[in-house]
Amino acid sequence: MGIAVIGGGVAGITAALDLADSGYKVYLIEKNAKLGGKVAELAECETGIAPRIVKIENHPNIELMLSSEVEGLSGSAGDFKLKVSGKEIDVESVVLAPGYDVFDSIAKSYAIGHPNVVTALEFEGMLRACTPSETGQLVRPSDGKPVKRIGFIKCVGSRGKENEICSTACCGFTAKEAWEVKERFPGTEVYIFYMDIRVFGRDEELVAKLKDKYGVKYIRSRVPEVIPENGTLTVKFENKPLQGLRGRGQSPRLENGTVERLDLDMVVLAVGLLPSKTLGKLAEIMGVKTDTYGYLETSLTNPLETNVPGILACGTATAPMKVRESVAQASGAALKAALFSERTELIPGQEERKFIEVADKPLKIGVFICGCEGEVAGAVDLPAVVEHVKHLTGVASVNGETTTMKEALEAIESGIVDQGLTRIVVAGYSPRLYEDLFRDACAKAGLNPYLLDMVNLREQVAWVHGKEEATNAAISQITMAVERARYLEPVPIERYPVIPKALVVGGGVAGMNAALEIAQAGYEVYLVEKEAELGGGLRENTELPSGESASDVLKEFVEKISSNEKIRVYTGATVEDVRGRAGSFRARMKGEDGGEEIDFGAAILATGAREFVPEGWYGYGQEKKVVTQSEFEKMLAGGHMDATTIVMIQDGIPGQRSKYSGIQVVSNALKAKALKPDLNVFVLYQEIKTYGKWEVLYKEAREKGVIFLRYDEGRPPAFQEGIVSVYDVIFTDEIQIKPDVVVLSPAMLPAEENEQLSTMFMIPLKNGFFLEEQERPKLVLTPVDTVNEGVFICGSAVYPAMVDEAIAMSSAAASRACVLLAKNFLETPGIVSVVDDAICSGCGVCVDLCPVEAIELVEEPVSAVTFGVMTVLSGKKTVARVIEGCIGCGSCASYCPSGAISLQNFKDQQVFAQLDYA
């Protein structure tokens, strides 16, 4: 049987690939005629999603059903019958990933329809199509005049009457578009009108950079209308006093209420996200519940499960969210769906590969110049290039006929098989994204995959140069590649068995969930927690925002873990000294069990985050009445409230707050109000980040009489002698409150052990949190993968996340780990350093340089020798040796003055060859 994935957007694509790559039969059902969904409309999609689409189209385990609609479902988990456009397919489980639609009943007042008023998605298209270097300017669609001022209006069609929840993603993508405008058209003035800036983690850094470095003006005002006048667009907004304009003690000026006008050349509307229009019908067919807002219903602790067993949900069909979150959910849902299914297909790339011996064969270089669907053919004079390249020494054949990647791949395979080519040069697509595909094509045809060189004619020639120049550049770059190819050597590739076990570091909710899912998928798991008990952050909380008791949730997890014989738990333990690579790691444990060594194929780092102890902030630690939100939550759990006035200070302490923080503030305020309705609750804040559906809590809190006072960024509230004083920017006055309790929201800090784990597992840190391998530039399509294959990250170890998100991410990490563990064999990496013993002087500098300790010095004893007159004592000299774990940076090779250590595929001679022809 198999698994149906419904929706061919980024989430569906991700789920389908994870499943197919681990040997499941997948039906990928998409209602449109092509894959990619909304993400494919984004400017950066080329670098992110396009290679995945190619992979899906060529995947033996995926049956692609385009322009297909789901019409009916019968049966139950393990035995569903799905009717798709008149065809019936048998599947064991279903992943729902139908995506979202944008809010399309935008009020007329926004002058929608005016050529210079566009939605954020349309603007992406404009940015993509625009070739600014010709004009150097962004131009107005109406008349082609340069855009001097552009305004972004956020929350159009969200956080309002028509759609009361927050669309979550807009703050981030608006910032990204603003950044792109400033980066590409530095002279443009950029204005962003907003209600709250709800960004987290790295987006927070981006917004700060936009404000400080790029001079983007963030204006807190809900703009109700856009008025087209004489070719420009006028917006009216409420002006607020500028920060720091007025010193303390001066009398307040009544500046609120003054309405400013601003003439703009273009307006971009950050339009809200809504459930896909067909979602209701789909849900009905599938028999799954939807929530009040029309999204698929899931829960905080089961964010990927619908009410029907065997039917999983992910992505923007469950709630508005960012791309990275959709992708994480999709991976997680894939693994959950797999649990209902039997693996029936072969995993690609597992067959043993034998390569032709090329050393004794004459050099026959095949050059394949691909037109790239006209992209290259249109910009480069291909016949002229072919004519030139054909005459290069060693070139046995030049093929300038192929236009698509598929054709190119096939031509290469037949070139190797039929013509006996021994080196391949592919000119066309960027090697950064497609090298693996072309390497595989070579290997399939029996040629060592490292006998391939690629020339980037599309991204780095055709798209950036004029025709004549592009043709010359193409000739030069291909000539260089042909020269390099001449010196390429077959790189020895060995297969090694994958150890079907996983290591999970961190026993919080993310770690426990990951361990359980991997165990359920059938693999053994080592779960390592440094504290004496499992639980992590769950042990700090009393109640989850969903109302569930934290200790109940924890209890359930612990019971499941202890009853699962595949999971071995180490508490009070840490991991030391990790060696090896994806599929075959070895680590030493430190803890009660002593120095036990464990072997595993994949590792998940789920170390969580910890709350900063705000010692000294607002008298915390000295005054009893000053507590943190977590402590306040425990007070609330006591069930009674003695205080009459409570002040909550949000954002008062610098640092990165958890995504939970804003939700915790309003939820605690509401709980306090519920205990004592006449309680005075003041929330002093900068931003209330109740993203997504949590927005309703914020609304409810305001309705219940919680008073929200926004203070000026430069003037945080003060707490002295029992009085909280704050300058409120809406009343433009200093307000003094005498609270019984002051509640603080401290920032979250990364786990202390991250530093050490970062070195051991070679995962870079950013501000102490693990950095994911980014599907660069801007889309994060690999939210739980890292630069070190086989090591995954999830939960608050990546950024302080919300519970559902931590769980979804940990399921994703488990899924990615299982994709790897499902394989029987992996191949050793080809781009690694090698030492020529005969030349090595043993200076050891390479050992010091290696970032992953993959080089060691082997001592060669100098033996004692008795000469005629004396005995010379023994001594030792050294020689370098590359051991397991080399990542191929080449730092060693670039130092080594004699070239005794060299990086395969990037040897001096291969670079020299290119230089000779550059």
Partner: protein
């Protein structure tokens, strides 16, 4: 000399790391940012693989300029590669400076998301090298 400056198209060899600057160049492409066609890119996995001897070889082969691009310090895919590269390039340029050759060698940290910076750098560098003039090694028998 003036005439030469006006008419000459410099040849620039560019060493870029795979993860940042090469990706930045790709992004310049996907964003269709035109830049002068003087650059010949040699892809390395990491700026840490840049043996300064490659730069010397390029200059002696007659390249008018050599560009080196890597990830921003602290963002290296291999953690330390660009830190090493920075020291090596600084040392090399210090040597070249005394020989009056340093202006031909320039390095920049360009991330995968800085397509515009890549295009701009290519443009600036082509201009700069035009000012510096042709590499005297260009037509020498060497």
């Amino acid at each position: 000399m003036e005439e030469v400056v006006g008419g000459f198209e410099p040849k620039i060899v560019g060493f870029t790391c795979n993860w940042c600057t090469y990706a930045g160049a790709d992004l310049a492409g996907t964003s269709r940012k035109k830049y002068p066609p003087n650059i010949r890119i040699i892809r390395l996995m990491c700026s840490g693989r840049l043996d300064p001897m490659f730069v010397l070889k390029a200059l002696l082969n007659g390249a008018d300029g050599v560009f080196i691009g890597g990830c921003h310090p602290g963002e290296c895919h291999y953690i330390k590669g660009n830190f090493y590269a920075r020291r090596r390039i600084a040392a090399l340029r210090t040597i070249l400076k005394q020989l009056g050759l340093d202006k031909r060698v320039r390095s920049e940290w360009i991330s995968a998301s800085e397509g515009d910076k890549f295009a701009r750098t290519m443009k600036d560098m082509a201009e700069e090298i035009k000012q510096v003039g042709p590499n005297p090694m260009r037509d020498k028998i060497l």
